[in-house]
């Protein structure tokens, strides 16, 4: 059908959609497995996402193609994805299965790995913290795959997806040198002397104060992204340069070796790093929200276009960040599937003994589906977990902020933060290593929230608080706006801490801030 015919034929659909848009725009989202009592297995006998099971059953004698399986899985997310379940085969032929396997009841992870390695058509096995990744040869049939997943050793299996539509949640900055060139200016004469400081509208919006930021203790912020340019003048002193982990043959190991600190890969991670922890008062560029942060880059993005690495690599990166003791794990990325591997990695990093140790921050990444409903991506949907915060991108317009009559509930997990026209550190398209990120969106909102968490948590005596107290405090002291349903993140209350004695503890500080 021609575009002309398609559009005309859809007229009534659009009228209905417009009506739906007028009467309201609720967010459509199934409850993620990690948030359900029954977990990822919704009913007895299920061993995989229903989309995967349906795909394998539909194959008959056809060849399994990992990209098609992932597309089918993503089709559970939105109408837009549902419309493209048939995709052309890659020129190199079908991509053979690569499955994330969770052990069945009573089966140890090591046993599952050994059993899997012995199976016909399995040519590679990788062991994670909670799962095994099995790569199959192209010769495996759909029937064999189905039987494999039904074996008692396998408790649950999901495709180890990566690639397109598993993307960092913003696009590369469209540069417009006329709109802002603060990075060409000389250093300011006043403190802080960073020439772009007055152009950081988001800092003003959240009540940021440079003198308070200057005395904030370092917090370790893991930036799960495309790597951070450790040679960037505004970042070099803050980046944890040496990664001693994950140097093996895994995808994560290869990506980290190439991209973690080299600055040769996609610039997104460097942009987020500057917003979170760009150095302050060094006479160049910008200052991050928490300028004394230690920044730990862990790569979850392939070098070329910011397309995400495998789900297993993301899950492993979360494990690494937690093992390294990160206070904040920033994930400015999105994907359309409810991965048990990732969900359980976030849960492990933020619950049990780890509950007080860290927060995972991501962007509230959404899309407008073709029926005009709003869809929320992952990992934002894991907001059910107390350890996760989602930054909702906001702009500099709208009404003034004010203190709410009743502090918002932190359990929703969504908090608004600056998400557009941010001056960012970058590795490309700029002779000085900066750019104005016009369409930063949820990525920048996440970075702002991560920076705010690090700043607040690093401000004595709040450094004695645990992660959940910090989260509660951020919501308790957030601001309201008549033009936004979500509270705006705010840090101007940190000035009130000066009234407390040097020996004050977290509870005293929370009391003083009215957030007990």
């Amino acid at each position: 059908m021609t575009t002309r015919g398609r559009a005309a034929g859809c007229r009534w659909f659009f009228l209905a959609a417009a009506f739906a848009a007028v009467i309201g725009n609720c967010v459509i989202a199934a409850v993620p497995g990690i948030c359900r009592d029954e977990g990822y297995v919704e009913s007895a006998g299920e061993r995989a996402p229903r989309a995967l099971t349906a795909y394998v059953e539909s194959l008959g004698q056809g060849a399994f193609d990992l990209r098609s399986a992932c597309t089918q899985w993503a089709a559970a997310f939105s109408n837009r994805h549902r419309g493209i379940v048939q995709i052309p085969m890659a020129a190199s032929g079908p991509v053979p299965p690569r499955l994330i396997l969770f052990p069945g009841p009573g089966v140890e992870l090591r046993q599952l790995a050994e059993w899997t390695a012995m199976r016909r058509h399995v040519h590679r096995v990788e062991i994670g913290s909670r799962f095994v990744v099995a790569s199959f040869t192209s010769g495996v049939s759909a029937r064999e795959l189905h039987e494999f997943v039904q074996e008692p050793q396998v408790g649950y299996a999901e495709p180890d997806c990566d690639g397109p539509d598993f993307a960092t949640s913003s696009f590369e900055p469209a540069l417009d040198s006329q709109s802002n060139d603060c990075w060409h200016r000389p250093a300011r004469l006043a403190f802080p002397n960073d020439p772009c400081i007055d152009d950081l509208w988001g800092h003003s919006r959240i009540g940021w104060d440079s003198t308070i930021a200057a005395r904030s203790l370092p917090r370790l912020v893991a930036i799960l992204d495309s790597g951070v340019d450790a040679s960037h003048e505004d970042l070099s002193l803050n980046v944890v340069r040496v990664l001693t982990h994950d140097t093996g043959r895994s995808e994560g190991g290869r990506l980290n070796a190439r991209c973690a600190t080299s600055g040769r890969c996609y610039p997104h991670g460097t942009e987020m790093a500057g917003t979170i922890g760009g150095r302050m008062d060094n006479g160049i560029g910008i200052a991050g929200v928490a300028p004394n942060s230690d920044l730990l880059p862990i790569v979850i993005s392939r070098p070329e276009q910011g397309k995400l690495a495998r789900l297993s690599t993301i899950a492993h990166a979360i494990d690494i960040a937690a093992a390294r003791g990160a206070h904040v794990i920033n994930i400015s990325a999105r994907w359309p599937v409810d991965s048990r591997a990732v969900g359980e990695a976030i849960l492990a990093a933020t619950s049990g003994r780890a509950a007080g140790q860290r927060l995972v921050v991501t962007g509230y990444a959404t899309s407008l589906d073709n029926d005009e409903t709003v869809r929320e991506y992952f990992p934002s949907q894991y907001r059910c977990l107390p350890g996760l915060l989602a930054g909702v991108p906001g702009d500099m317009g709208g009404d003034d902020l004010f203190n709410p009559a009743t502090p918002p509930n932190a359990t929703d997990g969504r908090i608004r933060a600056p998400g557009v026209d941010i001056v960012v550190t970058t590795t490309e398209n700029s002779e000085r290593g900066y750019a104005l990120s016009e369409a930063a969106g949820a990525s920048s909102a996440a970075a702002y929230v991560s920076g705010a968490v690090a700043l607040v948590w690093g401000s004595p005596p709040l450094n004695k608080c645990d992660a959940q107290q910090i989260k509660r405090l951020l919501f308790c002291r957030s601001k309201s706006s008549k033009s936004s349903r979500y509270p705006w993140i705010n840090v101007d209350f940190l000035g009130e801490l000066a009234k407390l004695g040097a020996g004050a503890d977290c509870r005293t500080a929370m009391d003083a801030l009215g957030c007990s």
Binding site: T3, C10, V22, R80, P164, F171, D395, G397
Partner: protein
């Protein structure tokens, strides 16, 4: 049409005239008209002012939104500027081929609001939308990229000429997404 319906007898003529008036009213009632909310964007040539997807939305490429009453859609009539290397491709290379449907939101949104990408906000914006627009060959052989093309109508300050922001959003696993500004000439 009235002249065609006139007949020989005066009585018949007046009856036919009445019928014609009724028909005319009915036909004019059926003839679609553009929503007044989109009218300021129609019929004036605009150019792509900024883009982060030059292959899809060529910088300096010219386009005019034209209302097509037959299908009650807004068509994108493009014009390439070879001297500026602004060349439209595939569906958009055919003038007035791509059709957009008007989605009435509750207000015009600002460029900043569109750039934040918060779909809850975008759902409130007046916009034009088309699905499955072929704009670029895909990396895979014999495949094309299909995009959802959403044009957000940007009203700007009082006295400013209307502009728009195009969001190319792709559900396909073959492609990527981005956008660009459409500004007055």
């Amino acid at each position: 049409m009235l002249a065609y319906l006139t007949t020989h007898s005066g009585r018949h003529r007046s009856a036919a005239g009445a019928l014609a008036v009724l028909l005319g009213c009915a036909i004019s009632a059926m003839a679609a008209e553009p929503d007044p909310l989109v009218s300021p964007w129609l019929g004036r040539e605009m150019r792509v002012g900024t883009t982060n997807m030059n292959d899809h939305l060529p910088l300096n490429g010219r386009l005019t939104f034209v209302y097509d009453a037959d299908d009650d859609v807004v068509r994108v009539c493009t014009r390439s500027i070879p001297a500026l290397r602004a060349t439209w491709r595939m569906d958009l290379a055919v003038p007035c081929n791509v059709a957009l449907n008007f989605i009435r939101g509750s207000r015009y949104c600002s460029r900043q609001e569109v750039n934040t990408g918060d779909a809850e906000v975008l759902a409130t914006c007046h916009r034009l939308r088309s699905r499955d627009v072929a704009m670029h060959p895909a990396a895979q052989k014999d495949a094309v990229e299909l995009h959802d093309m959403i044009v957000f109508l940007i009203k700007g300050a009082e006295g400013d000429r209307p502009s728009a922001y195009v969001l190319l959003d792709s559900p396909a696993h073959l492609t990527h997404a981005g956008g660009g500004d459409i500004v007055p000439q």
